[in-house]
Amino acid sequence: MTSDLVDKQITVSVVVPVYSGSKYLHALFEEIQALRDRWVNEKAPMSLVEVIFVDDAAVDTSPEIIDQLSQQHSWVTAIHLARNFGQHPATIAGILHTSGDWIVTLDEDLQHPPAYIDELFREVAGSSYDVVYAKAESKVHENYTRDLGSSLYKRLIEKLSGIPNIRSFNSFRLIRGSVGRAAGSVCSHDTYFDVALSWFTQRVGIVPMRLKDHRFIQEGKSGYKLSKLLSHARRMLMSSGAKVSRIGGASGLLILGASLVFGLILLLRKIFFPETILVGGWTSLILAVVFFGGIITFLIGVALEYLSFLVTNAHGRPIFFIVDRKMDEVLVKYYAPEEP
């Protein structure tokens, strides 16, 4: 390792979308500050240089709290969105305001304890990942129906979208800065951020940890209602939309093939076993229907393929992306087990 790499600090930015977290924000900030101080005291190579709170048109006193925090601490930035855009756009807005080598995104309600960020970095040090998601070891909501619903929902979306690690998607994530900012900058208003991340990297890690949705446990309220979950599912499928339209294209081709085979069978029956077809003109009519039906379905499939191509382009999926992982050596050295 070169000496300038050893001396270099890995800068970390934390992004917190804020909607109704006034009760938790002070405690959350204190935990983040504790982590920042601990890294300094332990002479860790990571340096928490900024916290960005994104006010997504919050419904409580959160905007005042984050303004106050940003006035008191130069490393805290408060961003106020003009209207409620939703958690993902707020997270993207925050990410596009970061400048750290690594970006951590977490929820406002202490569901994602900042102290666990260390665990995410340990995973990067072990495998040189670009994105690391936290995964709840046990039931997050301590509510059987809610947890089962969440799990089934994620499985369904995984099948439909064809993205292998979709079940690991979590808003508590550690992202390599360059990858996160690049993914954020190609997102359109309806792109699912984690799907966009998967366009830039396949190096995705998962760290199981004890996570609890305290707000849901204590108040029975969650930021996610059924309508929001459906909206999430729609966005996830549309972002990975190439697969959905490709299924349409493939089925068109399949129907054309089947119609040709069926048409051939009917033709052979008419030639070799004419007595089995009792109604005159039936064969030609069915042959025409089957053939043109197949052709039309196939052409719709071709149109869907073109559409999927355009959608992928519109979503800004890159042809390639270059990443620099040299700085990971510093983490590897820091987290390496000490020799006896």
Binding site: T11, V49, E50, S70, Q71, S74, W75, T77, L96, H97, T98, S99, G100, G177, S178, R181, A182, G184, S185, V186, G316, F321, I322, V323, D324
Partner: protein, 324 residues
């Protein structure tokens, strides 16, 4: 350089003159001039100021000083009684990140001569309110630093940054009768007409329209902070119109770091064409620079990047249509 002049009106009576000597008519200089013309009615006069020839500059200096001191020469309709407010704005500069020591020395000599004009005029017109506005460079001063805040110390890494720091020091040491306003803009983009330095976005848009390759000194993930020239123009315009002024330093950044990748993507979207880029990460121009929002002036409201890029692209396309 260009001299602007307007009468100052108090209680409906024209009492004195406000004179602004603007050195530099590049991207930012033109934006300041446009802002001034929006804020008030000015008479203006262009005068020569030699960059390269020190002996010619001596002659130019003397002409400029005489011109400012004798307001009667300017085409003002009503009689006025002397200069009440005199601002000298240094927004000139041919040096850039890649400039050599020799380039920056030439620029520094020219700057010193302009500072001398300010001091002479301060002695000759003691009753007026004098201010010197210096355009420094946040990128040059804080290269390689991230989350630059109010207490961050400039640590230039190349001759260009050292020049800007030396200019600031030189101004600070000048006569105390002159208010010293220092502006430190980050990477400036925008459209202010054609000129030598057009800024990154304009260059990208022009190249995209002409299907040319853009050479970019940096890497796709290089973080910079971009500000729109017209935002700077408006901010400085308001400062020039204000009175009295105290010595201050302003960091004119957006506080919103952007990667080159993001810039390219947004420009492609705004122009509707593919950009062809050649990245050159040598000589080490790929270091990140970003600024904390808390370090920005309270009354500074930069446009967001999307709007700025679209606006610039639109203006440039308009310019292309006009120029055939």
């Amino acid at each position: 350089m260009i001299i602007f002049q307007r009468p100052i009106t108090e209680c409906g009576r024209r009492t004195s003159l406000h004179v602004i000597a603007l050195f530099g008519m590049g991207l930012v200089g033109r934006a300041i001039a446009a802002s001034l013309l929006r804020l008030s009615e000015w008479a203006s006069q262009e005068l020569a100021f030699s960059w390269v020839d020190p002996s010619q500059r001596l002659v130019d200096k003397s002409i400029i000083e005489q011109f400012i001191i004798r307001p009667a020469d300017l085409p003002i309709d009503d009689k006025v009684h002397g200069i009440g407010q005199l601002d000298i704005v240094w927004v000139a500069g041919r040096a850039g990140f890649g400039s050599s020591q020799a380039d920056v020395e030439q620029e520094f000599d020219a700057f010193c001569d302009v500072l001398e004009i300010a001091e002479h005029l301060c002695q000759k017109i003691p009753m007026a309110s004098h201010a010197f506005h210096l355009f420094s460079s946040a990128g040059g001063l804080f290269e390689g630093q991230r989350q630059v805040h109010r207490d961050s110390m400039p640590e230039p890494k190349r001759p260009y940054g050292a020049l800007k720091l030396e200019q600031e020091r030189h101004l600070a040491a000048a006569t105390q009768h002159v208010s010293k306003l220092i502006y430190r803009p980050s990477s400036v983009y925008g459209y202010s007409g054609t000129g030598l330095r057009i800024g990154l976005v304009s260059a990208l848009v022009q190249n995209a329209i002409r299907h040319r390759v853009s050479q970019i000194f940096g890497e796709p993930h290089t973080i910079r902070d971009y500000v729109l020239a017209s935002d700077i123009g408006s901010f400085v315009g308001n400062r020039l119109m204000a009175r009295p002024r105290k010595s201050e330093t302003f960091l004119l950044a957006s506080g919103r770091p952007s990667t080159m990748f993001e810039m390219l993507r947004k420009t492609e979207q705004a122009v509707g064409r593919k950009l062809y880029c050649q990245f050159d990460s040598q000589p080490s121009n790929a270091s990140h620079i970003s600024f904390s929002k808390s370090a920005l002036p309270d009354d500074w409201s930069p446009s967001d990047l999307d709007t700025g890029i679209r606006q610039t692209a639109l203006q440039l396309r308009g310019a292309f249509v006009r120029n055939g």
